[in-house]
């Protein structure tokens, strides 16, 4: 499979100097999509998004159009944009918010218009210091420009937008925890039912929560039509998608790629993309969609970057971050580091996640640093099983939210794929990669 050529959608302005300013944004097609949207019926805007088959870019990959259609009608309803991108190796929203904040704002206004919402919130990761500053400036510019506030561009549609910085918790990227945090409470994911914020969301009102990248696609979709978007990609994996490539590649970074038309091998090895594994080494494993996704090995390299294909193979495209590990990577250490992240970021609500993550982390650490026992391998797997029974895919869970079942993914992958490495750590009493 070859790397396809197409005009980039969300990343088209990212390399232009001062792309974060209104001036540059306007000079490069900014707010044209919004003007067009405002000239259309809201229902028609929503219909275009449905046609586009735009999948949510936050991780779960739920079609945005369908999510919108679920929004319960109410006098008060909200739109919340999730920009709390905090997972290790995931940095696509980071790029968008720093380099093209107006595109996020424009997309949000279009979504609000389509949904009939008059109050929107952007929840932006607090550690994005520069991004947050630029988003705030862009918001001020947008108000001044007339793209926000009362009677936007004379259309009669009014929208207020508030941006809110996260306070440092990864869990607030979980949409219900995000809503709790936005309401000023502890960032605890809400227990289901109610199943969807679209019915009971922010302040108990129907709420759509969309990812930053998801809404960044909207200006283009409105301008070019949903069909044009759906023509890119294949099947349910329509359009293009921003991938964050990291790890042992020669050219780590973000790449906008047409979905399903490109393989992992292309992404990792194509000279204009990953440029191959560093120092010509061979691949050990890669994570196809963020650190909560089960790992793939060299056998899956030819798999296309398609949501369905990856899911069928037992993992996910998730948040669109691909992490490459070459032959020098210690899988025990890699899985331990990931577990340590989840352990630190567990909200502490559910026993299995709160206590299990710490225990698994400590056990993995012991193995990595040479103090493991042979029974620790099965012990870790069984501890994982108590968080995600059966260790199957899609995962089952004993917890309220999906942070719980995210913990076992890497541990289970590492043990299943590289059990010998675990055994040698234990037998040799040390990490041979160190």
């Amino acid at each position: 499979m070859a790397v396809t050529t197409f005009d980039p959608i969300v990343s088209r302005r990212l390399r232009i100097p001062n792309s974060h300013t209104l001036e540059v944004y306007l000079a490069n097609g900014g707010y044209v999509g919004l003007r067009k949207a405002l000239s259309m019926n809201p229902e028609d805007v929503a219909a275009e998004v449905m046609t586009a088959s735009l999948l949510g870019r936050g991780g779960a990959g739920f079609p945005a159009g369908r999510k919108w259609a679920m929004l319960k009608n109410d006098l008060v309803k909200y739109l919340v944009i999730n920009g709390d991108e905090s997972e290790p190796a995931t940095f696509k929203d980071h790029e968008l918010v720093e380099k093209d904040p107006h595109q996020i704002i424009e997309g949000t206004i279009i979504a609000a218009y389509a949904l009939g919402v008059t109050q929107a919130f952007i929840f932006c990761r607090g550690e994005f210091a520069l991004g947050f500053e630029r988003l705030q400036s862009a918001l001020n510019e947008a108000y001044e420009y007339g793209a926000l506030g009362r009677d936007i561009f004379g259309s009669g549609f009014s929208l207020d937008m508030v941006i809110h910085p996260g306070a440092g918790a990864y869990i607030c990227g979980e949409e219900t925890a995000l809503l709790e945090s936005l309401e000023g409470k502890r960032g605890y994911p809400r227990i289901k039912p109610p199943f969807f914020p679209a019915v009971i969301g922010l302040y108990g009102k129907p709420t759509v929560v969309n990812n930053m990248e998801t809404v960044s696609n909207l200006p283009w979709i409105v301008l070019n039509g949903g069909a044009a978007f759906a023509a890119l990609g294949e099947g349910s994996s329509a359009g293009t998608r921003l991938f964050a490539l990291s790890g042992h590649v020669n050219r780590p970074g973000w790449y906008e790629i047409e979905m399903a038309k490109t393989t992992f091998k292309d992404l990792i090895e194509h000279p204009e993309l990953g440029g191959g594994i560093r120092k010509g080494r061979s691949l050990k494993a890669f994570i196809p969609g963020g650190v909560s996704a089960p790992w793939f090995g060299p056998n899956e390299m030819d798999m296309p970057l398609s949501q369905d294909a990856v899911a069928q193979a037992g993992s996910m495209l998730g948040s669109g971050s691909v992490v490459v590990m070459d032959e020098t990577t210690c899988p025990v250490r890699a899985a331990w580091r990931i577990t340590k992240f989840f352990s630190r970021e567990s909200c502490g609500q559910c026993t299995p996640c709160r206590e299990g993550s710490g225990w698994i982390e400590r056990t993995m650490r012991r193995i990595e640093f040479g103090a493991g026992r042979m029974e620790d391998i099965d012990l870790v797997l069984d501890a994982c099983d108590n968080i995600s029974p059966g260790l199957s895919w899609p995962p089952k869970q004993t917890t309220i939210c999906v942070l719980g079942p995210s913990i076992p993914s890497s541990v289970n992958s590492a043990i299943t794929m590289f059990r010998d490495d675990f055994i040698s750590h234990i037998k040799d009493g040390k990490c041979n990669y160190a």
Binding site: I191, T351, P352, L379, K396
Partner: protein
């Protein structure tokens, strides 16, 4: 109950069960006989599904999945497994996880032996931990309030305590801090968990993370013995389990009773037993000899008391003897003392209220609301004191319902109360203005006048109240809870306001709140002038009681105020203090002191020393709660049992025995010789209590108590299955009496001898509205007296320097400083600011206190607290017959 047609059908472990839609799996499973282990779930709080202990396997179109039984509702056709392999694995997994960081210090943990974590680990957990690493450590224990200590290592983060504080008590003073494994329960910096209800968090903590300072290391659960009893520290009458070790009461736990306390207690009730071991306990009868109280034998003390009474009666007639107090007594003791006063001494000079209550006729004659009525009511009017201060658990029952919008509250209050911010309307009150403001509200509802026209208050509140209450016509959903708004005012105005409400709102129910202990029992037993036992007036029942008792007073007698005046004028020669402290409790301390010094002799019947003891000539030492038994009548008119757990301290006697022996020394026979005899006589004679089977009134078969009047009530005998996760620490059912057969029901309204019951029949009518006297001589006073003067309002706090609080070291720290609540504009016109120390001067005295600015205080008033500082607020009150008292505030 919904019709059977509304029921849905689910399967629990293969067994089909009918359930109501919306019922939680955990409840349905339990009914089907499958106990689902749990930690965070508590039936009196909203479920959160956090601990994951209650995971069960639930069928769904996408195959079976593990769901929290405490959070998921049943659906028709649902198949639930509580013991499948995957459920067992999840349960074992959760317990192993919980124990990872839980210290195994059970041998030195208060909870060890009654610990749900221990019990459920044994039943559902792994045999041992597979963890080899060190556990998490925290400094421990740390005191988070005077009464509660926190051990963060033992905490399993179930959030029961934080939810109780936030959801039930409305005081989010404890919460989680940190996240993940580092999550800990914490208080906010510099803000201790100062809640009247903090002790409840100790009771519901499923591990030993929260412990009660007074109980720490005092006993092991398996050494405890227990009886069910009733708390008598206010008139709510919460059901408690009294637990003792080595003949010493060491703990009170709240029992979950639907009708009263839902397992909650206030800290005063929970730790009130500490006063039993106070150094101020009166353990022996004594006589004053050359100024000193000297211990004597019971016969000497009683002989002397009888001699004093007889002499006074012979020389000056029965009117020369007065009986003050009685709220501390059980119903049986109150009856015995009423009989001593009214039949033996033949005086009607008895008053259980100390000039700070509500006229007994008003209390007893209006249609009474139960706590359940109030909680089910759509609208509640609260008049007077802050309920949290005078009836804490009543407040605790109402607050969450008001906060959730299930009850619309209209409040009449002199200051900001604990419910003000939740009220739909909060109508400011000045003593003396209740009648006017109630009538303004009624006029506004009728539409005859504009809202609040011409009464000089913010009419918006009257408008809000008008909108909330809606109509006068039919108000079965309206409950009026009332108390006197200022302890130093007479009650004419309160009476006017309440009667106006009663006349206007058809079918409304009323709940009088009197703070003191078994005051309702004492009034029912006739310890009030012009009343005889069983809620009947002197006029209606005089002949009846004359026949039954052999003698009754010639004429009706005096209340406390008149008795104290008469004593001060040497017209009363002997005062019998039945567990009361007129010097501390009567609004006019000067008059009380004068009365006690002028009177020839004071007979002091009590368990604890108090300020009036200095005037006692004879002390008759009475037993305290848990040393005595009997029955209690709460503010609803609900009779419940007071039980004995430990032997009486020293030579103290139960009050009824003192009454019998005193009558004997007076050469008379009360006609009963045991508690059971008294109970039977009450059930036979006292009209509102007629038909009460004495055995029933005095045993614990009836969890919920029996509502008065007995003949109008039917009580189902039931004993709820104790939920080990609600009744933490409660000793199992066999210690509490044999469990009743399910479905057993009976009518306590049938006296064993039906013929006899017919004989006495209903010939005597109970006290009614027509018995309420209007006192035309003491009109409410409203006019201002001087330009700089402010009208003094005195309110109460739960912890004041009252006898019981003062007798417990732990409680003394909880007595607040004097606060001076004034309206911000008044403050600025006087040039004083918030937090400033100011002095308040009356005609002769001064007291000082700290300023709190309160928008709800009338601009012409100042609100102080009763009996909290050395400087007595009552020293500002010169004459208690005057309704209004004026003071000046200066910085």
């Amino acid at each position: 109950m919904p019709e059977a047609a509304d029921k849905i059908s689910v399967t629990v472990d293969g067994k089909e069960v009918k359930a109501d839609p919306g019922e939680l799996i955990i409840e349905v499973a339990e009914r089907a006989g499958a106990f689902v282990p749990r930690f965070c779930y508590h039936p009196r709080m909203k479920p959160v599904g956090m601990c994951r202990m209650c995971l069960v396997e639930v069928s769904s179109p996408r195959g079976p999945s593990l769901q929290p039984a405490c959070f998921v509702s049943v659906a028709d056709g649902m198949e639930i497994s509580t013991e499948s392999e995957s459920v067992q694995k999840a349960q074992s997994g959760v317990l192993e996880y919980l124990l990872l960081n839980h210290p195994l210090d059970c041998p030195v943990c208060d909870k060890g032996g009654e610990c749900p974590l221990q019990d459920q680990t044994l039943a559902y957990g792994p045999g041992e931990s597979r963890q080899v690493e060190e556990k998490r450590h925290f400094a421990k224990p740390i005191p988070i309030s005077t009464l509660v200590e926190l051990d963060r290592e033992r905490c399993i983060q179930c959030a029961r305590c934080t939810r109780f504080a936030n959801e039930i008590a409305g005081e989010a003073l404890i919460d989680f801090f940190g996240r993940g494994e580092d999550t800990e329960v914490a208080i906010f910096p510099g803000k201790p968990f100062d809640s009247y209800f903090a002790g409840n968090t100790v009771q519901i903590c499923p591990v030993g993370a929260l412990t009660a300072t007074p109980y720490r290391f005092k006993a092991r659960p398996w050494d405890l013995e227990q009886v069910e009893s009733t708390c008598t520290l206010c008139s709510v009458g919460c059901r408690v389990a009294v637990q003792s070790s080595a003949n010493e009461v060491v703990r009170h736990l709240g029992i979950d009773i639907d009708s009263v306390n839902h397992s909650w207690l206030c800290d005063k009730g929970r730790f009130g037993y500490l006063a039993m071991r106070s150094e101020t306990r009166l353990l022996e009868p004594s006589l004053r000899e050359s100024g000193e109280l000297v211990e004597v034998s019971w016969s000497d003390a009683l002989e002397k008391a009888a001699a004093l009474i007889s002499e006074a009666k012979l020389a000056h007639g029965p009117q020369a003897i007065g009986f003050l107090g009685g709220a501390r007594l059980t119903n049986e003791s109150a009856y015995a003392w009423a009989k001593v006063a009214k039949a033996v001494v033949a005086t009607d000079n008895t008053d259980a209220q100390l000039g700070d209550g509500i006229p007994a006729e008003l209390v007893l004659s209006l249609p009474r609301a139960t706590i359940g009525d109030a909680c089910r009511a759509k609208k509640v009017i609260v008049i007077g004191e802050d309920l949290k201060e005078i009836a804490p658990v009543l407040f605790l029952r109402l607050r969450p319902l008001i906060a959730e919008g299930k009850i619309d509250l209209v409040e009449f209050s002199t200051h900001e109360t604990s419910l003000s911010n939740l009220a739909k309307a909060s109508i400011p009150l000045v003593p003396g203005e209740l009648g006017t403001r109630v009538r303004a509200l009624i006029d506004s509802i009728k539409g005859t006048k504009d809202a609040g026209e011409g009464i000089g208050i913010d009419i918006q509140e009257i408008k809000n109240a008008t909108q909330t209450l809606g109509s006068l016509e039919n108000n079965p959903d309206l409950v009026v809870i009332y108390s006197n708004s200022s302890a130093i005012e007479n009650t004419e105005d309160l009476k006017a306001g309440i009667l106006a409400l009663e006349e206007s709102f058809k079918n409304a129910k009323f709940m009088p709140v009197l703070k003191r202990s078994n005051i309702f029992g004492a009034l029912d037993m006739g310890l009030s002038p012009n009343l005889l036992p069983g809620r009947v007036t002197f006029g209606a029942a005089k002949e009846y009681y004359k026949k039954q008792w052999g003698s009754v007073p010639e004429k009706s007698g005096m209340g406390t105020l008149e008795m104290l005046h008469a004593a001060a004028e040497s017209k009363i020669k002997v005062l019998v203090l039945l567990g009361c402290d007129p010097i501390a409790d009567f609004p006019d301390a000067k008059l009380a002191k004068e009365a006690l010094s002028k009177v020839d002799s004071v007979i002091f019947v009590d368990s604890l020393a108090n300020t009036s003891l200095d005037y006692a000539d004879i002390v008759l030492a009475a037993s305290m709660d848990s040393e005595r038994e009997g029955s209690f009548t709460n503010l609803e008119g609900r009779i419940s049992r007071i039980s004995k757990k430990v032997s009486a301290s020293g030579s103290s006697w139960p009050d009824w025995a003192i009454a019998i022996e005193l009558a004997d020394a007076l050469g008379d026979d009360l006609g009963f010789g045991s508690l059971d005899d008294i109970a039977k006589e009450i059930a036979r004679l006292a009209p509102a209590y007629q038909g009460l089977r004495s055995t029933l009134s005095l045993n614990s078969e009836v969890d919920e108590g029996i509502l008065l009047p007995v003949k109008a009530t039917k009580v189902e005998l039931k004993r709820k299955q104790g939920d080990p996760m609600v009744h933490l620490g409660l000793i199992s059912v066999e210690h509490q009496g044999a469990p009743l057969k399910s479905g057993a029901s009976n009518e306590p309204g049938v006296y064993s001898d039906e013929k006899q019951q017919q004989d006495i029949g209903s010939t005597i009518s109970l006290i009614s509205k027509s018995d309420i006297k209007s006192d035309t001589t003491s009109k409410p006073e409203t006019a201002a007296s001087g330009a700089k003067s402010l009208r003094l309002v005195v309110t109460r706090k739960l912890f004041d320097r009252g006898t019981h609080v003062d007798s417990s070291l732990f409680f003394r720290d909880l007595v607040p400083e004097q606060e001076v609540r004034i309206h911000p504009e008044t403050a600025s016109s006087l040039g004083i600011s918030s937090g400033e120390k100011v002095s308040i001067s009356g005609e002769t005295c001064k007291v000082s206190g700290q300023v709190i600015l309160d928008n709800r205080v009338d601009q012409s008033g100042v609100v102080l607290i009763w009996n909290v500082s050395e400087e007595d607020v009552r020293s500002l009150v010169s004459n208690s017959e005057k309704s209004a008292h004026w003071v000046e505030v200066e910085s």
